[in-house]
Symmetry: C2
Subunit: 326 residues, 2 copies
Amino acid sequence: MTGHILALCGGVGGAKLAFGLAQVLPAEDLTIIVNTGDDFEHLGLHISPDIDTVAYTLAGLADRERGWGVSGETWNFMDSLRRLGGEDWFRLGDRDLAMHVERTLRLRAGKTLSEATSELCAALGVRRLIAPMSNESVRTILLTDAGELTFQQYFVAQQCRPVVREIWFRGCEDATPSPAFLNAMDRSDLAAVVICPSNPFLSIDPIMSMPEVKAAISRTKAPVVAVSPIVGGAAIKGPTSKLMAEFGARADVIGVADHYAPMLDGLVIDYEDRRFEGSLAASGLRSLVTGTVMRSDADRVRLARETLAFVPRISESAPRVRHEEG
Amino acid sequence: MTGHILALCGGVGGAKLAFGLAQVLPAEDLTIIVNTGDDFEHLGLHISPDIDTVAYTLAGLADRERGWGVSGETWNFMDSLRRLGGEDWFRLGDRDLAMHVERTLRLRAGKTLSEATSELCAALGVRRLIAPMSNESVRTILLTDAGELTFQQYFVAQQCRPVVREIWFRGCEDATPSPAFLNAMDRSDLAAVVICPSNPFLSIDPIMSMPEVKAAISRTKAPVVAVSPIVGGAAIKGPTSKLMAEFGARADVIGVADHYAPMLDGLVIDYEDRRFEGSLAASGLRSLVTGTVMRSDADRVRLARETLAFVPRISESAPRVRHEEG
């Protein structure tokens, strides 16, 4: 296939597919847009967890066992912070800390989050376009049975235990997509929008919450393809299926398809979910059945290749549902 | 002896005597005032090197081999910072970093440096009154043959190589001593001001540069005793003797005595410098000859005891030179 790929992703799961796409595509053909709804100010530092996860993953620095942060990490800062009575609910590794310090310095010096991200990625040797969804603040807020929580309060401090009633994205109405994001969406050679296997509610919805993104995705002729983060009724990682249940959605690939409708044109699902192929087809959605659990770099590359190969097959199909509905 | 002891000190050498004094004196009888002329903003953090050295030393956390920072320190933050192209000329250990992060948070929240210092010392288990010389900014600036340098540029980045022509303390005219400092100077039971063996130019002069300090030290009836940082014509650590030479001063205990005149009443000198006892006496200064090089905790405690025992012997002597001159 030819043309530009716009990948939308959150943290760990999304970063794995982004890694695969980065191995498969020439640098100029890929824009990776990352959720910043999880960003927060902590200990005086601007922390962008998903951007860091993507950057570390593409740099080959991510810790594979822990699933987040940098490999070979040490925790002496945290030990010392705890001793001083500092806030220790969010774990910051000694190596990782430099990223937050350097990002914060750049932002205070007046650089945009896009500029800071691109400089820090370059320093890590990542020669791919990784950009935040916006240079402005959009913050994921969860209304739960334990009160109103920021993403990190919910995800880290409370470990996703509270029942979520509503999610909103503070600032989304006024936020504009980052220049790289706008540029990718407007490209005449845009070949596909790939929604990486990230949490639809917490990683992809914040990106989609900006009015300009909704408009551009509805407008684009390029197919929108998602890789399901749900396999066999459970999320590979994180609270996706719990959230889906709390929202009265089906915690399976049909639930994912419904969530992304009407903008979605194709869905990549796991072998385990092949029984849903018919239902997906009935709703006008093309699907690709393959192994979607990425355990190795080879898995990531294979899934990226298969997802890209799936795109032209979608394009051949009937006009997208979203054009009829939107 | 009875009464309150006000100790003035800079970093490493001064901290050793402060440690000794803290072992020997009840908590309520000791105020340790620390130079903040070296403080600086770095990587967005407020760094108070001398306060930290004193706090770590009194907490028993100081690294004895390296001579600064915390023992058991690791450097993964620095490695990562370097990789990101960050400023790496000032080494910040992983453990040490928590101190700067927590101090900076407290200052941003509106606390004074005195409050931040006292909270952080308490968290380290240090139950002694350690206070900055001022809550306001006084910054040591060196005019050198390599241009105007801040203390850290001179001391760390340029490793004291440039020839110093002049030193000034930016902000000293408007700075007021910290509440603990003012309180100690004004106490009716003040038994002595002990100038710890720190660099007279770079650690003690910044403290003395504030007009209220000069006035209070001239006013107090308590003897002022210094422990010489110069032994046998060389500083135990740091650039003291080099600086003295550059200023045309004698790089020996006579030079130290001259520098502190007319406020000084007594000087503690090393056995190696006992030949100067007569000259010091001739200039009206009482001296105590002992071992001033502190290699062990026992040395620190012994020197503290001897210095305190020296105080009443000074008080018995003739009115101080500074009363005649001032």
